[in-house]
Amino acid sequence: MKRALILVARFWQIGPSRILPPTCRYQPSCSEYAINALDKHGAIKGGWLALKRLLRCHPWGGHGYDPVP
């Protein structure tokens, strides 16, 4: 499960992300954050963290350096 989710994030990074304009307001980027979070905290907690990160990556959200806790 964890691996599958990481694979999805990786796929996003090498696929669509390359050809879209840069969008992410954070460092590390949302996809990188997701990979780290999944790796560190597993599918459930890591996935939740990644989702929360994605949900704050919008013009009214925060920005800047925001590593996986």
Binding site: P22, T23, H63
Partner: protein, 589 residues
């Protein structure tokens, strides 16, 4: 150097995409092939093994014996012209019941055409056994020591089955039992079959009522990874999409455990399903009956019928189009999970509400193309504040431009460091020109949902937009290479680019040109190629999907123009940047 390598990589990848795409498309996204076979052809026919359930109820493949028909190719027209057929005439269904075997084996769907051509005939959904479009339903009993009706039984009855007038067939086995089938039909696609046996003999008898649908898989639509076609069943309140025809053929009889609500076969747009009597538990099974024919059984428990008593099971047969409103209405009438016969898949939570909005808009404007455009306007409208905010941030950015320039100068050889310093600067100044990942991310499921709706929803089948677009659920027919069909050849897969695909490439290219996000030269170059790659990639998709994308691009373009006019200093900046980039590129070149 690095940039050049990346560029080459991008070109190679694009080429791979282009040529690999055709392969992937035909493999994973075959065009829906609907049962629209010519009605007169009669080759490659198949048998109609019709009994094969032993008294214990386990479906067994029977060798030759009473009730097993020989493999015989039959002509559809000749079959339907056979005397004695009892007509069915309902608002959406026309057809007939075959008194031999009491089979429902002739159903045409009046309200759906075979092709987009207005003169093309109705969809033939059920056809007699042995014809090349075979699909029929039969109702029967199994039991030991009793003469039972089979596929060759001549039933007696007269009349016409309409919404107002049910039709009754009966057969006396000469041993004291009378078998009675009463058919009725509603205004859509549902037949109800009351299957009774009256025992006038002296002793009690044990019988097991059953019903089945038997169809050929040769006229079935292809099952793909995201739309299932083939055996389908609702068991213990869950819809089972797991089995494919060839899997059933390989595994032999597949007995479905649990209580069956309904069972049958589904195409993308059409379905035949037997719905079990609410009051009696039923099980189901799928199996191959040879020659690419398959059978779905609905089996009730064995019941003892005492002397003088009558046993009745009321089974419903759905034979028609999977119109979501109709299926939902049946679900409201107690057919569990019937709405889920449409395979929305994982994205149901987003696809279904979006579909409801689209249907609502269609009701308002009366044209699905216009409805799609309205949907796009709504979605872009919801996204507008994001773009507005982004432009406002960019305007603020101008204030920190000098500091940024200084940073860029200082770290021009250390890109990661530069990025970090920039992030720090954004933080200090509390600005960030980027819109974030969420706005992009939420558009993906919307796009996929629309893709899926266009693939699945019969409501959009043969729905026109304007001019040459007569079917939004099919690819754009105006392929450019053969001069819109004037030249008599079909361009090979990946070259059949329609007008819509070119419009898509063009609008996307314009949009990328106006994109305010800062990009490095390498990305800039990819962005000049991408629209044209996507033109090829998207060409084989449904016209409605391209219509959504083109509208979305145009609205984004308009939005950018508008926002630039609100922030003239940004426009000046953008023009200056562009000029600078051009100069740089020239110097490099």
């Amino acid at each position: 150097m690095d940039n050049q390598r990346n560029l080459i990589l991008a070109v190679v990848l694009s080429a791979a995409l282009l040529f690999g795409w055709d392969f992937v498309m035909t493999r994973f996204f075959p065009q829906p092939v609907v049962a629209e076979q010519s009605q007169t052809a009669s080759s490659g026919a198949s048998s109609g093994v019709d009994t094969g359930i032993d008294a214990s109820g386990a479906p067994v493949a029977q060798a030759a014996g009473p009730g097993v028909e020989a493999v015989l190719a039959r002509d559809l027209d000749a079959e339907l012209a056979a005397p004695g057929r009892l007509p069915i005439n309902a608002p959406e269904i026309v057809g007939s019941i075959n008194p031999v075997g009491a089979r429902i084996d002739d159903i045409e769907l009046k309200t759906h055409r075979q092709t987009v051509d207005k003169d093309s005939g109705p969809i033939r959904w059920f056809a007699p056994a042995g014809t090349d479009v075979q699909q029929f339903a039969q109702f029967g009993w199994v039991g030991d020591g009793i003469a039972l009706p089979d596929a060759r039984t001549q039933w007696s009855g007269t009349g016409e089955l309409t919404q107002e007038t049910p039709l009754t067939l009966s057969w006396d086995n000469g041993q004291g039992q009378t078998f009675i089938l009463t058919f009725s039909i509603d205004e859509h696609y549902m037949l109800t079959v009351e299957q009774s046996v009256r025992n006038d003999s002296d002793g009690s008898i044990a019988l097991r009522p059953y019903a089945f649908v038997n169809r050929t898989s040769l006229t079935a639509s292809h099952s793909t990874w995201n739309v299932h076609s083939g055996p389908i069943a609702a068991i213990d309140n869950e819809v089972d999409f797991d089995w494919n025809y060839d899997e059933v053929a390989e595994e032999g009889p597949v007995n479905m455990p649990g209580r069956t609500e309904w069972v049958g076969f589904t195409d993308i747009y059409w379905m035949s399903a037997l719905i079990a009597d609410d009051d009696f538990a039923a099980t189901s099974a799928f199996r191959s009956t040879g020659n690419d024919t398959y059978r779905a059984d609905l089996l009730y428990e064995t019941v003892s019928v005492p002397a003088g008593a009558t046993m009745t099971r009321s089974t419903r047969l759905f034979a028609g189009a999977k119109e979501s409103a109709v299926l939902d209405a049946y679900e409201d009438q107690g057919v569990e999970k019937f709405g889920l016969a449409i395979d929305w898949g994982w994205f149901r939570f987003i696809a279904w509400p979006m579909w409801q909005v689209l249907i609502f808009l269609f009701g308002l404007v009366g044209n699905f193309g216009v409805a799609i455009i309205c949907l796009t306007i709504i979605i872009r409208g919801l996204m507008f504040p994001i773009a507005q905010k982004q432009f406002a941030s960019m305007a603020q950015m101008r204030a920190v431009q000098p500091k940024m320039k200084a940073l860029q100068e200082r770290y021009k050889d250390d890109k990661p460091q530069l990025q970090q310093e920039m992030a720090k600067l954004y933080k200090e100044e509390k600005v960030n020109p980027l819109a974030g990942c969420l706005p992009i991310f939420i558009q993906i499921p919307i796009f996929f949902a629309l893709y899926k709706s266009l693939l699945l929803a019969i409501e959009m089948r043969h729905e026109p937009f304007v001019l040459w677009i007569k079917d939004l659920s099919a690819p754009d027919p105006a392929t450019i290479l053969n001069l819109f069909g004037l030249l008599d050849f079909t361009p090979p897969g990946f070259l059949s680019i329609g007008v819509l695909a070119v419009l898509l490439g063009l609008t996307m290219w314009l949009q990328f040109k106006l994109n305010p996000a800062a990009m490095d030269p390498m990305q800039q170059q990819i962005f000049m190629i991408m629209p044209w790659v996507l033109m090829f990639v998207m060409a084989p998709f449904a016209a409605g999907l391209l219509l959504y994308w083109i509208t979305s691009n145009l609205l984004t373009l308009g939005q950018q123009k508008y926002l630039y006019s609100r922030h003239p200093q940004l426009r000046a900046q953008a023009e200056k940047d562009a000029a600078e980039k051009a100069r740089n590129a020239e110097r490099k070149g």
